[in-house]
Every structure is written in C-alpha cells, then in structure tokens.
C-alpha cells in the first residue's frame, strides 16, 4: 500500500513570511499540530509546529511583568521562517506505507509532508493516520472472534489452518502472524466473523494445531 492511499490531501500550509500568530490561528482552526511551510510553486521550505510556537513564547513569558499584549505583539511580529524546522523529514508520493511508518518511527516525528516529483506538497501523513490503518488491518471493532494458533515455521502452515476454517463457512476478517517464543514456530492471530469459535478451535486441535488460550498471555 502506498502512502498516498492514507495521506490527507487537503493540507493546510503557511508561507514563511506569515506570523506565528497566523500559524497558531490556522492550527487551532484545523486542529492540527504542524503546518508545512511552502514557498513559491508550493515547494516545501520547512515545518512549523505548535511546539516551535510554544518555545518562541517561552522567553517572553519568563520576562518579569510581561503581559498578554506583549506576547501577542511578539507572535504577530515574528515570521514563521524564524522558528520553523528547515531540515524536514519527508515522504514522497512513491513511498509505501511501510516506508512512512518506518520514517515516523526511526526519526521520531509526528508527521511527514508527502512530496510530489517536483518537490511540491501533495499531502501529509501523521501518526494518527498510520494508527488508523493498523486498527483497520487488525480488524479491531469488526464483529468477530479472535483465534490464536501456533504453527511450525514451515511453508504452507497457514494453508492448513485456513482450509479447516473454510469448512465452517465463516469469513476471516484479519490475519496477523508474528514470531513465537520458540524459534521454529510462529503465532498466527485470526479474526473470524463468528461467535461460534468452539468447533473451529476443536477441529484445529484435532488436526494437531496448538491453540493459544487468552490466559496464556496474562502476566
């Protein structure tokens, strides 16, 4: 899946010469925490975040006898380019969602402006967008039961399980597999659209599969 499937396309941007006051207003209006800063031709020149603004406000706030008015004056007279981050971690429209997830994690940023081939801002993807993709992929909130099976780490292991599930005429809404505590095994997590998992569990056990009990995961 490409990042373009999950990014937001209506990006609120700001120009480098706009004031911090404008930036703060835009963030509040659109409930976002950062704005890509764009120059000519929609080219990305930086990012300004709510944290950049707070840090700019801090020295004024510490002044003895400083007033609300002085603070507003400072915000109105400080251009965005003075506090923005110039070295921005970005994704491109050709990146996969996996690229974006890795970038967000490895560079510890909250969002990635997504750039088109000409360096213009085509969209933005945030940690929230990525979490939403995960929630959907895991089938969380879909009407279903969870089934956890341990399989030997060999080709075709999953096919055996799904063949058994198929005989019960129920849909699988999500499959996830991860390494198991034993190195030559994998744990497979299914979400299947039925309340009646008992018979499926039994059939799998009779076929020699190890079913994990939820209690096995308790501390």
């Amino acid at each position: 899946m490409f990042v373009t499937r999950r990014m937001q396309r209506n990006v609120v941007t700001i120009s480098p010469s706009a004031s911090l006051q404008d930036a703060r207003r835009l963030m509040r209006e659109h409930t976002v925490r950062q704005l890509p800063v764009t120059g000519e031709d929609n080219k990305l020149v930086g990012v300004v975040s709510d944290r950049d603004i707070r840090e700019a406000m801090l020295p004024v706030g510490l002044l003895f006898g400083s007033s609300e008015k002085e603070m507003e004056n400072m915000l109105a007279s400080t251009p965005v380019e003075k506090v923005m981050t110039r070295k921005v971690v970005t994704a491109t429209v050709n990146d996969s969602l996996e690229d974006a997830i890795t970038l967000l994690h490895d560079f510890r940023v909250n969002s990635l402006p997504v750039l088109d081939d000409k360096g213009g801002v085509a969209g933005i993807i945030t940690r929230t967008d990525v979490l939403k993709a995960f929630i959907e992929a895991l089938g969380v909130g879909e009407i279903s039961s969870r089934l956890e099976v341990v399989v030997p780490d060999v080709p075709g292991a999953l096919a055996g399980i799904t063949a058994i599930i198929k005989t019960f005429h129920v849909n699988i809404t999500s499959i996830l597999t991860t390494g198991h505590t034993e190195p030559d095994k994998r744990a497979v997590f299914f979400r299947i659209a039925t309340l009646n998992v008992g018979p499926i569990r039994k059939a799998l056990e009779e076929a020699g599969y190890e079913i994990l009990d939820p209690g096995d995961f308790l501390p």
Binding site: G139, V140, G141, E142, I143, S144, S145, R146, H169, V170, N171, R191, A193, T194, L195, N196, V197, G198, P199, D213, P214, G215, L218
Partner: protein, 316 residues
C-alpha cells in the same frame, strides 16, 4: 417471598440448529428438567406468551429486516446472510415468540401480576441490532421489552444490566443515543472474544452520552473481579441514573465451566450478581426486575445457575 413469573413457551424448542451447535433447544430442556427436579416450579407463576403484534417488534427493529428474516426462513436458508447465525423454517416465528416472552415478563411485572419475572426464552437477543441479527440472535428481546414498558406502561427510565460473557453490541447500538435507557454490560475483553466491541470508552453519543457503560474483563476474571465492578461501577451508575425498572440480559456463559469463553465465575458468583441486582431494584425501582435469558452453553451450570438466579429473584 416475591411472586416471580416464569415465562416459557414449548415452541421455543422449535428453533433448532441444522448442525451441531451450542445454542440449541436442549439448553431450555436442561433448565426445565432441573427446575422440576428441585421443585422450584411449584413456587413460580407460569406465564405462556402469545405471538406478538408486529408493532411491538417494530418499536425496535427495521421493517425491511423483519421481512428479510421471514423470507430467509420460508426459503429454507440455513443461516442469516450466510453468516454465523443459523435459521430453520420456524426461526422467524420463534424469534417473535421469544421477544413476546420478554414482553410478557415486562407486562406481568409492570401490571403487578408478578413482582419479578424470569423469561426462559430463545433464540437469545442481545447481539441483534435494529436491522441485523448476528451472534445466534435474531430479535433483541430485552430491547423490545424495554420499549414496550416505555410505550405501554408509562415507564420512562430503564436500566439494562447485561452480564452475558459477550458484549451486548446489539442492545448498545439500539440505545446508543437514548438517554432514557441506561445500558450496562460486563463481558470478556473484546480483544479476546466475540463480538469485538464493548470497550471502556464506548459510552454513548449525543443525548445518550454517558448512559452506556462497559466493563470489559480480562480473561480469567472471576467472582472477586465481578464483585468489584458491580460495587464500584454499576452501583454508582444506578445511583446517578435512578432507573424505574431493571431489565437483565442474563447470560450464564461467564461461568467457569462454559466452553465458549474464559471467565471464571462460580455458582456463588451468579448468586452474588443476582442478589446485587435485586438490592439495586429494591433501592430504586420498587423491586421491579425482568430477567431475560441470553447465553449459557454448558448445560449443567446453566441449569444450576438459573435456579440460583431465580431463588434470589424470589427474595424480598
């Protein structure tokens, strides 16, 4: 001793699975045989429901859904929407009769013919939403009883207490934006068990914000954990809401012997839950409770705990 109505209809046995299935007629047979053996029937007021008016059902369900369900049964479909809920030729009528049982129980209590009622009905109801049956449920019996109390008996504020081990997603969705009905559900954590809803932060919406309360329980939770939730979550909620009537979605599948889930309630746990809701009803509702059977699949614990539950309902 309180006069408790026992609502039952022999036709409840006619909704039967076309293959081996945990939700089958012998659940009610097990209950009836056991209640007979322990001599409880002599102390109960029998109520046999009649088929309901369509209007009673339409207070909760979508007319198109009812037509679809009726057609599917006539056609001989084995499942609803090719999903996990089975049907036979009788299922539509028996689902109506099951809802009628809950209505009859509510009616008996509301009119004072009985102090409390236990409705030994099936198919169960709490997964059924307005326009969709699922999870062995076709029509939402408890919700239909609530709406009939409100429409016919001048009851305004009803609290539903759902202790079936599965989250009552259908009931929750029906009353999601309704401030007149408080829905409380205690169930196994949806990460591990069907239907995958009923998380802590699902609390209703709009005018109904705050009148839905979910208590998801970790696998392995038992009597002590349930007791804590009833004392610390349910009791304060009832105090704030001040219900005029309690409707129970009584599922006996959180029992430690039940094969479908991972809770560890004992017989004593069900006695405590029953005693607790009776105390709540006495405090706020003049004692009025209608208890509607939901799940419970291990026949022996189901029958024993139903007896224990009814005996608590009989206490003052």
């Amino acid at each position: 001793m309180k006069n408790v109505a026992y609502v039952y209809h022999p036709d409840y046995l006619l909704h039967a699975p076309p293959f081996e299935h945990p939700e089958s007629p012998d659940r009610l047979n097990a209950i009836n045989t056991h209640l007979e053996e322990v001599g409880l029937f002599n102390t109960l007021m029998p109520v046999t429901p009649d088929y309901p008016d369509n209007g009673d059902i339409l207070r909760v369900h979508d007319p198109d859904y009812l037509r679809k369900l009726e057609l599917a049964c006539r056609r001989g479909d084995l499942t609803l929407d090719a999903e996990d809920t089975y049907l036979n030729k009788n299922s539509y009528l028996i689902a109506l009769l099951s809802a009628a049982g809950a209505i009859a129980g509510a009616d008996a209590v509301a009119t004072g013919k009985a102090d409390r009622a236990f409705c030994a009905v099936r198919p169960p109801g709490h997964h059924a939403a307005r326009a969709k049956g699922m999870g062995f449920c076709l029509l939402n019996n408890a919700a239909i009883a609530v709406r009939s109390l409100q429409a016919l008996h001048g009851v305004s504020r009803v609290m539903i207490i759902d202790w079936d081990v599965h989250h009552g997603n259908g009931t929750q969705s029906i009353f999601w934006e309704d401030p007149s009905v408080f829905f409380f559900s205690i169930h196994e954590n949806p990460a591990f068990l069907y239907p995958g809803t009923g998380r802590r932060w699902e609390t209703g919406n709009g005018a109904g914000e705050g009148t839905t309360l979910n208590a998801p329980m970790a696998p392995g939770a038992g009597d002590d954990e349930y007791r804590l939730v009833f004392e610390q979550l349910l009791a304060p909620a009832a105090e704030r809401f001040r219900p005029e009537f309690l409707v129970l979605s009584a599922g006996f599948d959180p029992h430690c012997d039940d094969p479908l889930a991972d809770m560890q309630l004992t017989d004593e746990g069900f006695r405590f839950l029953s005693e607790f809701v009776v105390a709540l009803a006495n405090q706020y509702c003049g004692g009025k409770i209608v208890s509607v059977l939901e799940g419970g699949y291990e026949r022996e614990s189901l029958a024993r705990c139903t007896e224990i539950h009814i005996r608590e309902l009989q206490k003052n």
